[in-house]
Assembly symmetry: C2
Homo-oligomer: 382 residues x 2
């Protein structure tokens, strides 16, 4: 269930001493024969040094390795922070005997502080020595921050497979999250196919996850393809499998979001177009009054409608229907079925909003807003 | 300190039985000689019945009376709810011997439920019987919902004065809040002057208050002018005094926001234009990670910068400075002065963000995000 399941990859995760006593440094290596890569990074204009670096090195559609650390985001650290990232990539390149322009760097943790470079550089020697075809699980563990469990996935295609690891529990928002994800595949694909497939898969998965509305400085999703299976996949099929893999990680991120007690699936139907459906879903997903009501197991459709009303989507106020967990408690923009019939005792919450203005739809995933979220984010300086 | 301080106004607030045991129905009457009025309502497309009614009756720039109730928003109640509002206005008109097209209606409370019309209609008789030139304080009390104290203000101009009452503790956002405000003045002004002054005053005050990012279905701000002082004010001076009055109520709303422990003033300087400054201020004010950090007394400038980075405002990531309570903990987009020097023990928090891209500035007011906010909004079905 991880990045070392596809053929052609080794990985490791170790405790380098960046944070006390836990695994904090991961390395994923593509051993070829092909080194195709694609990446999607945060849309935040304040980009961490490793994001700026990775954007540069991925331009040629090739990567040999990705080094990832938790314990520090290396964001808002100025030119010195960028030099640290550069130095890390050069160290990985030296140890693996490859070029530093084929090494992506990802960091996650506290914003605004320099990384302990001694620990990182000696850690690179150590993690490279541990590389193995079974090391994916340790790599997944090494990138955790406030995650309570590692996230991984495997999706099998026709003669190839896709593996993935991810982390992220806060700052999950459209334009990606404080979320680092590495996908690997042994399919034989060219860079332009990889880039198009990854962009499409992210659009339908990570871009539709909005746990807390905050957009991170460090989000990075990478896809590495080794070609080791020798199988050239059908493009549509590959994109679909990759979307499944991204969706699996996205749902794992949602289920482990900081302090959450509900996994909320908001489906907007009857939209004039997909953009309208996404806009409405996001507005509801970001509304703190909706989120606190869900934490309180209150099917408060009035707050949902108030959030819908802030959007520019096509709808008529007196022609909107809302169902919560299958009960249509709002029809024609007013009260309908008895809301006491809505069972919100479980973790899963399904909200359907029918705009009755067209045939398009979209699904947005989010969480509730709980005491534990406030506690974790007022106590954790990140 | 209330709407009955300016000459020409009477008011009352009573317990009509809409909610148990508390004042819940208010009436403010303009006794002339002039009946100029202006109004600003929520930008939410899901507008409550009283908002739709008030938008209609204020079109001619005249109002004789405003009836306000707490205990129910009469929002998302369909045609029947609109009929209830109409009926309420007709009852007030009958009792006061005026036309119903000169009666504004404002409601606040739970969305999606019909009002108890028997209580409202018999309450109108009772509240009209209590009208007095000292009744403003009772009116302010009758419109409270989760407010812990009534809000009122008086500003004195040159030969005239402006009084105001307001309520609102949740759903405070740009485009106004679940916020009902009535301002009165004895200045002699025409409808177009009143409308222009109120729009400008709201733009600089209520529109820059964003407590929790949620936009209400019921927000209404009304200005009634009796002309009883006989003084025709200087337009610029009147707008300035009205802005002071609106600002006073806005700050009272902020200080009494649900569950808040901090009053946060975000000043964005060095902006290319005012829109940029407002956009950046709002993005920071709406960020849950910034808000929870402030609740935890953590001067987390990294989260502030991450929120700035989500905007389209003109700035360079490596040329942004941030001060919290006077300490410049971020310069050039990176750590600067020691953040342990920031004192966040008090209720007042001043954040200054210098975009270093121009000469414009704007101030946005907000609150922190606390356990009490989550508690109140998960327990209170509104």
């Amino acid at each position: 269930m991880t990045v070392t399941v596809p053929q052609g990859f080794t990985a490791a995760g170790i405790a380098a001493g960046i944070k006390a006593g836990k695994r904090d440094l991961a390395l994923v290596v593509n051993n070829g024969p092909q080194y195709t890569a694609a990446g999607v990074v945060t849309k935040n204009r304040i980009k961490a040094a490793p994001v700026l670096w990775t954007q540069q090195v991925i331009k040629d559609g090739k990567l040999r390795a990705v080094v990832l650390n938790s314990g520090g985001a290396n964001a808002c650290t100025g030119p010195a922070g960028f030099a640290d990232t550069h130095h890390t990539a050069e160290k990985v390149a030296e140890v693996l005997d490859i070029g530093s322009a084929d090494v992506a760097v990802c960091s996650t943790g506290l914003i605004g502080e320099r990384l302990p470079m001694d620990a990182i550089l000696s850690g690179v020697d150590k993690v490279a020595a541990e590389l193995s075809a079974t090391g994916g699980a340790d790599a997944a563990e090494a990138i955790m921050t406030t995650d309570t469990k590692p996230k991984d996935t495997v999706v099998r295609g026709d003669g190839y497979c896709i593996g993935g690891i991810g982390k992220g529990a806060g700052m999950l928002a459209p334009g990606l999250a404080t979320m680092l994800c590495v996908f690997t595949t042994d399919a034989l694909i060219e860079p332009d196919i990889a880039a198009a497939a990854l962009t499409e898969a992210c659009r339908l998965t990570f871009d539709r996850l909005d746990s807390d509305g905050s957009m991170s400085t460090n989000d990075t999703v990478l896809l590495l393809a080794s070609g080791a299976s020798g199988v050239i996949p059908d493009v549509k099929g590959f994109t679909s499998e990759l979307t499944h893999a991204c969706g699996s990680i996205a749902r794992q991120l949602m289920s482990d979001a900081e302090g959450s007690t509900k996994d909320v699936t908001i489906t907007v139907t009857g939209a004039a177009d997909t953009d309208d459906a996404v806009e409405v879903g996001r507005a509801v997903a970001r509304d703190n009054l909706v989120k606190t009501a869900l934490f309180g197991c209150d099917p408060n459709w009035g707050r949902i409608l108030a959030a819908v009303g802030t959007t520019a989507a096509a709808f008529e106020p007196d022609a909107v229907d809302v169902a919560v967990n299958g009960v249509w408690i709002c029809r024609d923009g007013a009260a309908a079925e008895d809301r006491s019939g809505v069972d919100l005792s479980g973790r899963e919450v399904d909200i359907t909003i029918d705009l009755r203005s067209g045939r398009d739809s979209a699904t947005i995933w989010t969480n509730d807003l709980s005491h534990a979220y406030v506690h974790e984010n007022s106590a954790y300086s990140s």
